[in-house]
């Protein structure tokens, strides 16, 4: 399906552009925090002298420029060369440093996959990978849309995979990544990043799923920015007398199957796994297989990106079209109940 502007059929709606939300995935009026990854890394690096930053011509677009400004002599610009970037990260980690390495998720997951697989994961190097534009957070089309990064990194032995929801969480993920011994892949939200989970008294723990709100009719199991959407959807569904719980699963691997299975065991709830990722190989299928193995069989639905090359266009348009906007989620849930 090709993108359309919508102006011909809906003249009353403002015309959205591809550049909308390029710097931030925050909705208008939403509380945000600037560059939580870059700022948290700077804070951590003041005491962790083993930390260095590396990027492949995307420092400004991954918030690593904040680190570069503060610690110019600990920052390595590797040019627009992702294979070199990850190979060199392995080498510098072998010498005892802890590199935080950034690029776009598409380039890490697709172009440099073998380099990450062989020089970092197989050798179990202490490399921390933080990648911007995960899932559908760019309107540039498939070249920039990493719809499959979780599937690829989940399949890589030794790799820990984290999909944080907001600025509050990213600030906590950064030191947790550094404390963990071994390679980690984190989906990075950059720029003005929404602030949501602080309202829930949330604390990130590596490998732990957390129930953010309870509800008797629906259980959202979600990660990343789809947790934010699930929380919004849960609030709106109250108007329809639908009580929705939200279980946030930021660590995709290792998966907290115990907490997930227990939450899904509760009788009478529709389980909806929601993720900013293709429905193939991500959180949805991971949860489904965990439930099958545990012989827990609730009514089950997936919200995620379709198995197709996604269109270019404005993110709000695309999120609506592919079913991951709050409105689309509410509509889907109501249709399933």
């Amino acid at each position: 399906m090709k993108a359309t502007t919508g102006t011909a059929t809906m003249p009353s709606k403002p015309r959205l552009t591809t550049s909308a939300m390029i710097a931030s995935i925050a909705a208008e009026g939403q509380r945000t925090k600037p560059a939580p990854f870059g700022n948290a890394l700077v804070e951590l690096a003041r005491t962790r002298h083993d930390i260095v930053g590396m990027t492949a011509d995307l420092g400004k677009y991954t918030d690593l420029h904040v680190f570069a400004k503060e610690f110019p002599d600990r920052y390595y610009q590797m040019g627009m060369a992702e294979q070199l970037l990850f190979g060199a990260a392995s080498g510098i980690a072998a010498e005892g440093f802890t590199p935080f390495v950034t690029t776009y998720a598409v380039f890490a997951a697709r172009r440099a996959y073998d380099f990450i697989h062989q020089t970092i994961a197989e050798e179990d190097r202490n490399v921390k990978i933080a990648c911007a534009l995960p899932g559908l957070t760019s309107g540039y089309g498939p070249s920039h849309q990493a719809a499959e990064d979780l599937a690829l990194f989940r399949a890589m032995p030794n790799m820990t995979v984290i999909d944080p929801c907001d600025a509050h969480e990213i600030e906590q993920v950064v030191p947790a990544m550094a404390s963990h011994q071994g390679p980690v892949y984190m989906r990075l939200l950059r720029g003005q990043v929404p602030l949501v989970l602080d309202e829930y008294g949330y604390k990130f723990e590596l490998g732990k799923a957390k129930l953010l709100r309870d509800g008797a009719d629906v259980l959202f199991v979600s990660s990343g920015l789809l947790t934010m959407r699930a929380l919004e959807a849960a609030k709106r569904l109250e108007a329809d007398k639908i009580q929705a719980a939200v279980l946030h699963v930021p660590t995709i691997k290792p998966l907290d199957t115990e907490t997930i299975v227990e939450a899904c065991r509760k009788a009478g709830r529709l389980v909806v796994v929601a993720e900013n990722h293709t429905v193939i190989g991500g959180l949805g299928e991971a949860v489904a297989s965990a439930l099958m193995r545990a012989r827990v069989h609730p009514a089950f639905q997936q919200i995620g990106l379709p198995d197709e090359f996604l269109a270019a266009g404005a993110l709000p348009t695309l999120h609506d079209r592919y079913g991951i906007s709050t409105e689309a989620i509410c509509a889907a849930v109501k249709s399933w109940l």
Binding site: A81, L84, G87, G91, I92, A94, D114, E123
Partner: protein
């Protein structure tokens, strides 16, 4: 002692190279196969690296002050094991396990299996990028250790090699010594015909490297090249391009039709060892 330096009583480099070849042939015989033609061609380079140029402690393979050796072309593992055995890092008896289940000596080199193996090769094109990172790390630590990395001419087809070459010059990595084995043979045929890489020295010089091209089976030339690479004063990465002869040291293998994976029949391993010994006596 035959093949010993009269002043130090240490084996000569020629004797070391002979023993590296012998260890490799013995492993080939154990497994019935192996990248033996490459092992024989690179034995002189490895002898000079391990018994003339590099700093290391056999009893402490992860000694912090050691020079690092990254084998990018993982299928040359048989050659590196042969050198590591001669260096005393791997016990000689272990060569009997080459390529068998549970062995520390798998046919393609991996860091997690073998003492002295600093990277997991096999997927060609990785080593120079890792070397760049190690060199940056060593400089950060103020270490005087060097990083040596060996790769083959076929690997030059991989774009990552050229990414790494650009960055090594950009960062002035004078602690990096890359060795290219030009035996002009890769999987599908002669390397120069698969993808032309010449004039290699001129290309790499233009990338900002200090480059030497030598006969990689002339021990004196190899020693001189390693010495010059270490002594060179410019803040440039160093490359030694070593033209080598596959099967070197075993005349009937030198003459055999060139192939990436040279076939050696079971009865020929002993003949090869005999031919090697005859060459040593001569």
């Amino acid at each position: 002692m035959a093949g010993a330096d009269l002043r130090t009583n240490e084996p000569t480099l020629a004797e070391r190279a002979y023993r590296v070849r012998r260890n490799a042939l013995r492993m080939g015989e154990v497994q019935g196969q192996g990248y033996i033609a490459q092992a024989l061609d690179i034995a002189d380079v490895l002898a000079v690296a391990y018994f003339h140029a590099m700093r290391y402690r056999p009893e402490e393979p992860t000694w912090e002050e050691r020079d690092r050796f990254l084998l990018s072309n993982g299928h040359y593992a048989i050659a590196l094991y042969a050198a590591l055995i001669e260096a005393g890092i791997i016990p000689e008896a272990e060569l009997e396990s080459y390529g068998f289940d549970e062995s520390r000596l798998p046919m393609s080199g991996m860091a997690s299996y073998t003492p002295g193996m600093e990277m997991s090769g096999g997927s060609l094109g990785l080593g120079l990028s890792i070397a760049v990172g190690m060199c940056l790390g060593l400089k950060r630590k103020g270490s005087s250790s060097r990083v040596y990395t060996l790769f083959s001419d076929g690997e030059l087809d991989e774009g990552s090699k050229w990414e790494a070459m650009m960055s090594a010059a950009h960062y002035g990595l004078d602690n990096l010594i890359a060795i290219v084995d030009v035996n002009n043979q890769q999987a599908d045929g002669p390397s120069t015909q698969m993808m032309g890489f010449e004039p290699l020295a001129e290309k790499v010089r233009a990338f900002g490297w200090f480059v030497q091209r030598i006969d990689g089976n002339d021990l004196d030339a190899v020693v001189a090249a390693f010495d010059a690479a270490k002594k060179h004063e410019d803040a440039k990465p160093r490359m030694i391009i070593a033209d080598t002869l596959m099967g070197k040291g075993v005349p009937f293998l030198e003459a055999r039709e060139r192939n990436h994976f040279m076939r050696v029949d079971q009865h020929e391993w002993q003949l090869a060892l005999q031919a090697l010994d005859e060459g040593r006596r001569a």
